[in-house]
């Protein structure tokens, strides 16, 4: 008997490839295997979703740092000085 379908990924393998998938660094064949696994595996769908959630949460976790007025004034006077 010949094999028509490509060898299926295990969940362990999918988890290891998740960043390459998101970075679009997989070959077309690898990508197809990856997406094929996601068709039936609820656990991996959720894992991928949680990685995306974690990315979003990281973006929401920014501390809003601003320069002090003093620092800004210094920069401005420096800018003026340079243009003389």
């Amino acid at each position: 008997m010949t094999r028509t379908a490509p060898i299926e990924l295990t969940c362990v393998e999918l988890v290891a490839l998740v960043t390459e998938y998101l970075e679009e660094a997989l070959t077309p064949a690898e990508r197809e295997r990856f997406e094929h696994h996601l068709v039936y595996c609820v656990g991996c769908i959720e894992y991928l979703q949680q990685i995306r959630d974690a990315m979003k949460l990281a973006g929401a976790a920014k501390p809003a740092e601003v320069l002090t007025q003093e620092a800004e004034d210094k920069l401005l006077s420096m800018f003026r000085g340079l243009k003389k």
Partner: protein
């Protein structure tokens, strides 16, 4: 160290950049002409990111502010020579990271990819979450799959704080990469350039970082529910 850094453009150049370049050309001309308003708006636009990126290398906000100032000196001094072969933003941040590294001392100068060796193959997901050889057809498949986080959990301020603390706890290379990619929203090109990493190394660091942040979130959100 190269000083001032060259503005060599990195490999990928998306078409959306064309418009950006036009805008930047205008910005550059205004800066060169000494337009204070333009300078100030540029300082304000980038200040938050510049301080946070500087904080990857130096210990305090006060020092980070000094680094930001130094970086702007470098930017203004290099302005005449800047040829626009990289984006203005990535050029500014390359100057910033150079300043931050020289202020941060020897430890900060060590390249983040040395962190690849820092952690020999520690599993990113607890192996007991997967089925073992006792179930031959399902070996390597989830035994304890992740459980969906609720919208309320995701929206909670506290959850973002968990993510932030998890990022701070990461080994340096992973922390730097995830900070630039997912906190600052930089492209992989910009990140590789700023940190002096290859695409592949950057991806490995990012992979570990995201997986660990996810694991910490999972653990803490589960604990919270009880």
């Amino acid at each position: 160290m190269l000083w001032p850094p060259s503005d060599r453009r990195s490999t990928v150049d998306s078409t959306a950049d064309a418009q950006l370049h036009e805008e930047e050309a205008g910005l550059l001309a205004s800066l060169r002409a000494g337009d204070e308003k333009v300078f100030l708006s540029l300082v304000r636009r980038h200040q938050t990111s510049m301080i946070r990126v500087a904080l990857l290398y130096v210990p305090t906000k006060a020092v980070a502010e000094e680094v930001v100032q130094e970086a702007w000196v470098g930017v203004l001094q290099g302005l005449e020579k800047f040829e626009g072969r990289s984006s203005l933003k990535s050029w500014i941040f390359r100057i910033l990271t150079n300043c931050a590294m020289s202020r941060g001392g020897r430890e900060a100068r060590s390249k983040p990819f040395s962190a690849l060796a820092e952690e020999p193959g520690e599993p990113l997901v607890d192996p007991s979450r997967f089925r073992g050889p006792e179930s031959p057809h399902w070996e390597g498949h989830w035994a304890a799959p992740p459980q969906r986080w609720t919208d309320d959990q995701l929206a909670a301020h506290q959850t973002a704080q968990i993510a932030r603390r998890a990022i701070e706890e990461l080994p340096r290379g992973q922390r730097d990469v995830i900070t630039l990619r997912d906190v600052e929203g930089w492209s992989s090109d910009e990140t590789c350039e700023a940190l002096g990493l290859t695409e592949a190394n950057q991806r490995v660091l990012l992979h570990r970082a995201r997986a660990k942040v996810r694991a910490v979130l999972e653990q803490q959100l589960k604990a919270e529910k009880r």
